[in-house]
């Protein structure tokens, strides 16, 4: 029997977050060539979300019409996901491994009585079991977990899987089953969302490229060198703790043990020495580039490519070169 897979669509602007498309690609592979893949989307903005799912070959879409679920706590949504998974007879629920997906996964697993793993970078069946690989210990090691018991909830790490190329279909749409949500779960209220202003680059945790600056930039006003390179690359901006502790940039940009863990395709460390507490937050990046005027800096031991030199000279040259190549 081909295993049926349900992909939970993550709303983003008018459509879906890019990571949802990546999860759909994984779903097609795990469901087998013509295995059933279903999608779940929320009320507002669902028309374009449904169209997007169709473009990636999802033939059946369940739509949550209960406005109470949207903007309520993840608890209310988890119940809806569990009910939809049962309706489509899924063996696997896939989510994108963003804040949204990772936060939901544990709750869905309990509500639907499934085994769960977050942030998978590789997935394959092993008979009835599912093998999921992911970086652990801040990228210092990789663990493969065996999920057992026939029902699985998995979030996929952003950028770990390609966006699928499938013949587009026009999906069937049905209402997702609505169950009673305990009043306690409807207590929390979202007061607002400050959309990340366009032009300020992607969110740090989900970015394909991250450019981070450290104490080597010497003063808050110089940090714009880092930001300009990031902007030329369409990258997110990060920082070492030296920078956030000094208040040069907000703590939300801090990468490392006590900040965020990032794993982009490309990580550029500028004026960062490479303390272990910083390294554990970025070591599973695919390619690491370091720019530092101390050729003995530890960052060069984990980097793939290094430029030993003065960041005040190198970074503006790099920004100019990126702009030239990109024609911007």
């Amino acid at each position: 029997m081909t295993p049926s897979v349900l992909v939970v669509g993550e709303p983003h602007g008018d459509g879906l977050a890019p990571v949802t498309a990546e999860a759909v690609g994984v779903a097609h592979v795990l469901a087998g060539a013509d295995g059933p893949v279903a999608g779940l989307v929320g009320g507002a903005g669902s028309a374009s979300a449904i169209r997007e799912l169709g473009q990636f070959g999802v033939g059946r879409v369940l739509r949550i019409d209960d406005p109470g679920v949207e903007g309520a706590s993840p608890g209310a949504l988890a119940r809806a996901v569990a009910a939809a998974a049962s309706t489509v007879g899924a063996r696997l629920v896939l989510l994108g491994g963003t804040t949204f997906g990772r936060d939901l996964a544990g709750r869905v697993a309990v509500a639907w009585n499934a085994a769960a793993v977050n942030g998978a970078t590789d997935l394959r069946w092993d008979g009835e079991a599912l093998l999921a690989r992911r970086p652990v210990l801040g990228g210092r090691a990789t663990e493969t977990r065996r999920l057992l018991g026939g029902r699985y909830v998995v979030s996929t790490r952003p950028h770990a899987f390609p966006v699928p190329e499938r013949p587009p279909v026009s999906p069937s749409v049905e209402a997702a089953p609505a169950g009673p949500v305990p009043p306690l779960l409807l207590g929390p209220k979202r007061l607002g969302v400050k959309a990340v202003p366009s032009g300020s680059g992607p969110a740090l945790a989900d970015a394909a490229i991250v450019v981070s600056g450290g104490r080597g930039v010497r003063a808050p006003e110089n940090f714009r060198l880092v930001e300009e390179l990031a902007s030329a690359l369409g990258a997110a901006v990060g920082a070492s703790r030296a920078v956030t502790d000094a208040g040069w940039r907000p703590a939300s940009l801090q990468v490392g043990q006590t900040g965020r863990t990032v794993a982009p395709q490309l990580y550029i460390a500028i004026g960062i020495s490479g303390a272990i507490q910083h390294l554990v937050g970025m070591m599973s990046s695919r390619v690491i580039v370091a720019i530092n005027n101390d050729p003995a800096a530890s960052i060069f031991r984990v980097a793939d490519y290094g430029i030993a030199g003065d960041l005040f000279e190198i970074v503006p040259a790099l920004t100019a070169e990126v702009r030239r190549v990109r024609g911007t």
């Binding site: 936060d103 801040g138 999920l147 699985y152 695919r286 000279e313």
Partner: protein
């Protein structure tokens, strides 16, 4: 406010991770387990709330091998937590994050709890599954990846932020609630020597969680691998900054294929 703070002993960041000879999992032999930096921050958050709201108490709980939990719980007492509970079980029962949540529930249900706080766990292995699983098991709302948690006395609600793909969200939630914190944005206090000495004699309560492998769906470690050692950066030779820039951009697009 009765606050339960869940603490997890994690391998020290300086630890050299290595697999067991059978390659299935991490070898804990000789590894130092410590109160993680982000758990220190969760304790700090709990203590700040306690200080802001008269009549509050903070209960520290920790799950795992006794030698590891007691160390972490005593550190929490020395910082100012009011009680400590160790959750004991066979290691096999806790190799799955959902089972971990079930173990935490066993202790939390025996304690008064308006707010259950967890630190960020990404340096370790669970990547944010536990707060949601725990919320569902307790039948309480939960939020993971929370920043800037505050108590609003006027509305008698928690206020906090979360940064998601959609942007910076702001939320308010009534108690009871389970909160997983995203990062250490506060400056954790350090324990004073007399408090550390006193914590050595502090009582630690014991809860025995369900032992044996959990029934139904679960997960187990199958393989633990170290990445091939990084051989060090390929250094770019250059005479002028412009040449360095041209060479790097070419390498990134042609060799590393990450750009443009």
């Amino acid at each position: 406010m009765e606050i339960v703070v869940c603490l997890k002993p994690v391998p020290d960041a300086e630890t050299r991770a290595r697999p067991l000879p059978d390659g299935t999992r991490f070898d804990p032999e000789g590894v130092k387990f410590v109160l993680a930096g982000y758990d220190e921050s969760a304790v700090e958050q709990a203590l700040l709330l306690k200080e802001a709201i008269p009549g509050s108490a903070v209960h520290a709980i920790s799950l795992g091998a006794r030698s590891r939990t007691d160390e972490v719980l005593r550190a929490a007492i020395a910082l100012g937590c009011d009680s400590a509970t160790a959750i004991e079980a066979s290691p096999a029962a806790f190799e799955d994050p959902i089972a971990v949540a079930a173990g935490l529930r066993a202790a939390i249900e025996g304690l008064p709890h308006d707010l259950v706080l967890l630190g960020k766990q990404s340096g370790d292995e669970e990547e944010g599954l536990v707060p949601g699983a725990l919320g569902e098991l307790l039948g309480l709302p939960h939020f993971g990846f929370v920043v800037d948690l505050r108590w609003d006395a006027t509305s008698q609600r928690l206020r906090f932020g979360r940064s998601t793909e959609a942007g910076e969200e702001s939320w308010e939630a009534p108690l009871p609630c389970v909160i997983g914190l995203q990062q250490a944005w506060n400056d954790p206090r350090t324990a004073k020597l007399p408090a550390i000495l006193k914590s050595r004699r502090a009582p630690i309560a014991t809860v025995r969680a369900p032992t044996g492998p959990p029934e139904g769906p679960t997960s187990e470690p199958a393989r633990f691998e170290l990445p091939p050692p990084r051989t060090g950066a390929k250094m770019i030779e250059y005479r002028t900054p412009a040449e360095a820039a041209t060479k790097l951009v070419r390498i990134l697009s042609e060799e590393a294929k990450v750009f443009p």
